[in-house]
């Protein structure tokens, strides 16, 4: 479903991703954990080509790309295979909750308005936000905005959903709700890649966990192995530090 092979990313002279290899099968949930600055966001953004990889191969849903020679059209096709849920929600500020979802459907997918609205409403319902469909992002709480963000991503009917720390900008008491929604989507068989600091969540939702540090995949495998009985020293240290931190630190 999704394959990343030998992916490198440089910002100027800084080597941020040092040959990443990842494979996610249809219907699988992959969680990426790791310390701050390890390159998790960069990797996720490379998958959606919001960031251009310096070299390496990407394949999502049979769309194959080699970063060394890639056309605009290929990027566009690749992007349509996945959909991103952002840490800061990134809802269109000049559009209502409903329009945030219909926008991509109508403009990128050329869906007629009435049909797009029907789709949008059904996804808003799924995230429990039907009554607020006419609200602008500024009129919604963080949790509500992220629900719209998730509905918007799902409505695009992507092969893979990408989440970049979807709950880290939220108040602690809302985090659980959003995680529950994501878990729900996972149960429906959606293929997902989730960058998260919520270790417990990662353990329960994932089929596969990747631990990254300093631009490398240090360890990957089943959540019970990587997160409970890690074999690498760096993973152990990371988990120990995370467990010492109280949950409510933002």
């Amino acid at each position: 479903m999704l394959t990343v092979s030998n992916l490198h990313k440089y910002y100027g002279d800084t080597h941020v991703l040092k040959g990443i290899d990842i494979e996610v099968k249809q219907g699988e949930v992959l969680s990426i954990v790791g310390p701050s600055g390890s390159g998790k966001t960069t990797l996720l953004r490379c998958m959606n080509y919001l960031e251009k990889p310096s070299s390496g191969q990407l394949s999502i849903n049979k769309v194959d790309i080699d970063a060394k020679h890639v056309s605009k059209k290929q990027i566009h096709t690749l992007r349509q295979q996945s959909s991103m849920v952002f840490q800061q929600y990134n809802l269109f500020k000049n559009k209502t909750a409903l329009e945030n979802i219909t926008e991509g459907l109508m403009i990128a997918k050329k869906m007629p308005k009435s049909e797009a609205e029907e789709v949008a409403e059904s996804f808003l319902k799924q995230v429990g936000l039907s009554e607020r469909k006419q609200a602008y992002p500024n009129e919604l709480s963080g949790g509500q905005q992220q629900r719209v963000g998730i509905a918007r991503a799902m409505a695009m009917n992507p092969a893979v959903l990408l989440f970049d720390e979807p709950t880290s900008a939220l108040d602690p008491e809302i985090v659980g709700d959003i995680l529950a929604i994501i878990k729900d989507i996972a149960k429906q068989g959606m293929t997902m890649v989730i960058v998260t600091h919520e270790i417990e969540f990662a353990r329960s939702v994932s089929d596969q966990v990747v631990f990254m540090d300093q631009g490398e995949v240090v360890e990957k495998g089943k959540p019970a192995d990587v997160l409970v009985h890690p074999s690498h020293e760096r993973t152990k240290r990371f988990l120990k530090r995370i467990h010492q931190e109280p949950d409510f630190i933002i």
């Binding site: 990134n90 926008e103 602008y136």
Partner: protein, 239 residues
């Protein structure tokens, strides 16, 4: 106010009002054309398009750094000459008379206006959060679609106060067009004043008309701004 002939002043009002359409024509055309050109030039600068980017910097610097009245004269004498030389070079049969004073004024004010609006639009676009365009791309829109549907509408709202100021400034700046023979509010006033030797009365009426125009448009612009800002949150129903 013994020296002022109120009767005379009142009689001139309808005559001077006949200049208002020209004042507004120059102002509105300069605003719209200036905004369109300014937006295009702003993109040259934001995306640092080779050559065009540098030319834009030069253009902005020149038109902001020279007096408007001098620019008017340069266009007034230069544009008909330009047509003649184009005719010569390309064997075209353009009539230099299409460059009437009004057309020249519209061109000069539009270009001058564009030089100011380039910077206004550029900073407004750059003030829109980068995540907005990324989200547009993430739902499959092209950069152009994202710009057109998401970024520009937001940038426009950010720019509105500056655009409003610019519009009011244009109303007043349009008065200089009398120098090339436009019969706008000031143009007509000058003719009347010279005929009747009633300078003070005539120019006072002209001043009041400009003032009134400014007030009317300030009210209209405030309404537009309020409507455009609805998405920034309607008070009181925030969750």
């Amino acid at each position: 106010m013994a020296g002022i002939d109120l009767q005379f002043a009142l009689e001139q009002v309808p005559k001077i009002l006949q200049g208002v359409p020209y004042t507004l024509l120059v102002t509105i055309v300069a605003m719209i054309v200036g905004l369109v050109i300014g937006t295009i030039l702003a993109f040259f600068r934001i995306y640092r398009v080779p050559v065009l980017h540098q030319l834009t910097v030069l253009f902005v610097s020149f038109f902001r750094g020279t007096p408007l009245i001098v620019q008017l004269f340069v266009f007034f004498y230069g544009l008909p000459m330009l047509i003649l030389s184009l005719n010569d070079t390309f064997q075209w049969g353009l009539n230099p008379d299409i460059m009437s004073p009004l057309v020249i004024a519209l061109i000069a004010y539009s270009i001058n206006s564009a030089s100011y609006l380039t910077e206004v639009v550029r900073s407004a676009i750059q003030s829109v959060d980068k995540g907005q365009l990324e989200a547009a791309k993430a739902v499959g829109m092209t950069t152009f679609q994202g710009m057109y549907r998401i970024i520009l509408p937001q940038a426009f709202v950010t720019a509105l106060p500056n655009l409003g100021n610019h519009f009011i400034m244009l109303i007043k700046a349009s008065a200089l067009a009398f120098t090339i023979g436009i019969m706008d509010v000031l143009g007509i006033s000058r003719v009347i004043a010279n005929d009747g030797y009633r300078f003070l009365e005539t120019y006072l009426v002209a001043a009041l008309i400009y003032w009134l125009l400014s007030i009317i448009f300030e009210i209209i612009l405030a309404r537009i701004e309020k409507r455009a800002r609805t998405f920034e949150g309607r008070a009181s129903n925030t969750a």
